[in-house]
């Protein structure tokens, strides 16, 4: 971790001078190349469509409905945990907002209540994972059933249609040439960048992810940290419900958004966040979100249907996890050869 220790008395990290060659082969730069490559393919294949600002805007809008949850998931994965209940959390908090709007509550109350619901769900996960020390996979699998079950109980087969007007704007409108969701996502990313890379809290996340025992002995309250991270995830799922419902045209039913948790995890892994914990940066997943958006949209343009696109998602996910692994083994093999000589 060649990170920067901000404001410490003794700076122990060895700071390399900026090397262009190293910078160009970083994982995040690879992602940028892939993104450019997809864009070039798209531009060549459909020049009429591509050189049109509305197309680019709609590609970005189509891919960003899950974007807030990507950032929350980065934190969870950094801890070495996983959260597969986010899609259910998202639908549950969307439901709370929708019901309160139906009841005629002020918009601000309804939206905050929705986000608060997400936070409570996250806290529930966090207590079970952090304090009771149950495995995160199990907890979140069962809470995903539980949260979606609650939505099923409340909504049954009905759907909610009464959502604040700005939901639609987030999903579909632009300010100038920039889509609103892009601006919001950029803001969220900057906030998360500062939390993760410029604060003590962020450094603690890396320590816990790399070695929880060391973290405990160095005085980090691992349980509390996990609880906070899961609450952040819940809040992001609550905010995600705004993006999602807006994108869905202001409607919500109990079966919506299934499989979103997998898409979010796929984006994070593609963005270079290790599922073992302790490795990953904020801007990798940020770029990866756009890669997925452009990739899926391009495939859609070429005439590949939604279900077949799943194959591509899966292959992308597998390749993304394989490349660093193979690279590591390859380097180790080379070193082994030199050592034996």
């Amino acid at each position: 971790m060649a990170g920067e220790n901000k404001g410490t008395v003794r700076d122990l990290t060895v700071k390399d001078s900026f090397q262009l060659s190293k910078f160009l082969v970083k994982w995040e730069m690879m992602l940028v190349y892939i993104l450019i490559l997809i864009n070039v393919i798209l531009a060549v294949a459909r020049p009429g469509l591509y050189f049109n600002i509305a197309t680019i805007q709609s590609i970005i809008q189509s891919g960003l409905d899950l974007s807030p949850m990507v950032m929350g998931m980065v934190f969870i994965l950094l801890l070495g945990d996983i959260d597969v209940s986010i899609a259910s959390e998202m639908v549950l908090s969307g439901m709370v907002t929708g019901i309160l709007c139906d009841k005629g509550m002020p918009v601000i109350v309804a939206v905050l209540a929705g986000i608060l619901t997400g936070a409570v769900c996250g806290a529930f996960n966090g207590v079970l994972v952090g304090y009771v020390k149950m495995p995160a996979v199990i907890v979140t699998i069962s809470t995903s059933m539980l949260f979606r079950g609650i939505v099923e109980i409340v909504l049954d087969v009905n759907s909610l249609k009464n959502f604040p007007a700005f939901y639609n704007a987030i999903g579909w409108k632009n300010i100038g040439i920039l889509p609103i969701c892009l601006i919001l996502y950029a803001v969220i990313t900057v906030i998360f960048y500062f939390i993760l890379h410029r604060s003590t809290f962020g450094r603690q996340l890396y320590i816990v992810g790399n070695n929880p025992t060391t973290a405990t002995y160095s005085g980090i309250r691992v349980e509390r940290l996990k609880l906070i991270v899961f609450i952040i995830m819940g809040v992001m799922a609550g905010i995600g419900s705004i993006f999602f419902v807006g994108r869905m045209g202001g409607g919500l039913s109990s079966s919506m958004g299934t499989g979103y948790e997998m898409d979010v995890i796929a984006i994070c892994v593609l963005g270079g966040v290790s599922t073992n914990g302790g490795k990953g940066k904020v801007y990798g997943p940020f770029i990866a979100t756009f890669i997925m958006a452009f990739l899926l949209y391009t495939l859609g343009l070429v005439g590949v249907d939604a279900n077949t696109r799943k194959i591509v998602t899966g292959i992308v996910l597998l390749i993304a996890v394989l490349i660093p692994n193979l690279n590591k083994q390859f380097l180790a093999d080379i070193r082994g050869k030199f050592a034996s000589k």
Binding site: I82, L128, V132, K133, M134, P135, V137, I138, V139, I141, S142, T143, S144, M145, L146, F147, R148, G149, I150, E152, I153, D156, M262, I265, A266, V269, T275, N276, N307, T308, R309, K310, I311, V312, T313, G314, I315, L317, L318, V321, L322, N325, L326, Q329
Partner: protein, 326 residues
């Protein structure tokens, strides 16, 4: 008596009995032979998935692709069968096993030899197999009249008034218990799950054992795909969606540890019976059917909580006996 009380799944047995008593009081209609058999038959597909899942969980891995493998093998078998009606049905059983083994072998290769985290690897293959199932089916549905009688007989034919699928499930149970309990390869799976390093020192090849576990899991998932389509006489690309979570839930109810090394086939059997009773019980209660997912989620959380609490207290007692704790 002491031997019975010392049985490691005794808590599960009591849980199951409690559930059955509750069910007997509230919904007595559940307890006729025909109702019980139909309940077990409806849940029989989970047996194969849960046993396969258990073997993978014992190695410390997880397989999220079983639902998709089920769909892929179901689609391939049904689509080929509907155009080649005269081929004996055993061919389709073998074909489903082969498809499952291929799917499982790919998972096992990626996890065992390429050292990818099982959760992510099988998440990827979950998408891929489901996508292939869609591609091969072309979004088509197959209905009972397109599915030949010998094919359906593999699940539905009643032998001694119990449908064939339950007999097959019983055979798989016994075979799995024998394999995991008495075969060297089975014991190696436990060894890898308990402590990878000491297993490696003892000369067990980690990659090979993981590969084997995924292949068995895949084979059982493939078989379950064929039996699913035979059982319900229905097939489309989206069958078995979310079954991987059900299988994991059954394993957890049956006391299989998600971190590896712990879990028995008889525990899975009890977990499966409990899950079958819970689902059937809830569906029989008026107005409760929408509660199904929420209740299942709560039950799993409670089961894991009890499981963890019991493990911790027994570990503490063990330490106390050795004088390590004051």
């Amino acid at each position: 008596m002491k031997k019975i009380m010392g049985y490691r799944n005794i808590g599960l047995v009591f849980g199951l009995i409690g559930l059955m008593v509750l069910a007997a009081i509230i919904t007595p209609s559940l307890f006729s032979f025909a109702a019980l058999v139909s309940m077990l038959r409806n849940n029989a597909v989970y047996v194969f998935l849960a046993i396969g899942m258990m073997i993978v969980l014992v190695t410390g891995g997880i397989d999220l692709s079983v639902g998709s493998t089920l769909a892929l093998s179901g689609v391939v078998c049904t689509s080929l069968m509907s155009t080649h009606m005269d081929v004996p049905a055993i061919v389709w059983v073998l074909l489903s096993l082969v498809i499952g083994i291929i799917c499982g072998a790919f998972n096992g290769f990626v996890v065992g030899y390429l050292k990818v985290v099982p959760m992510i690897a099988t998440l990827g293959t979950m998408y891929i197999y489901r996508g292939f199932a869609f591609l091969l089916s072309g979004g088509q549905w197959w209905f009972p009249h397109q599915i030949s009688q010998p094919y359906q007989d593999w699940a539905a034919k009643s032998i001694v008034s119990v449908p064939a699928i339950l007999w097959i499930a019983a055979i798989v149970f016994i075979a799995a218990a024998w394999f995991m309990g008495y075969r060297t390869s089975g014991r190696r799976i436990y060894a890898i799950g308990t402590n990878v390093e000491s297993a490696q020192v003892a000369g067990i090849k980690e990659a090979r054992v993981r590969f084997l576990a995924f292949v068995i899991c895949g084979a059982l998932a493939g078989l379950s795909g064929m039996l699913y389509t035979a059982n319900y006489a229905l097939c489309t690309y989206s069958i078995g969606d979310g079954y991987e979570l059900q299988a994991i839930a059954i394993c957890i109810l049956g006391g299989v540890s998600i971190t590896g090394g712990r879990g028995t086939v008889d525990g899975v059997l009890i977990g499966w019976l409990m899950m079958s009773f819970i689902t059937q019980f809830i569906s029989l209660l008026p107005g409760l059917s929408v509660w199904q997912h929420a209740l299942q989620g709560v039950i799993i959380i409670v089961a894991v909580f009890i499981n963890i609490a019991m493990t911790r207290s027994s570990e503490k007692r063990f330490l106390k006996e050795r004088g390590a704790l004051l």
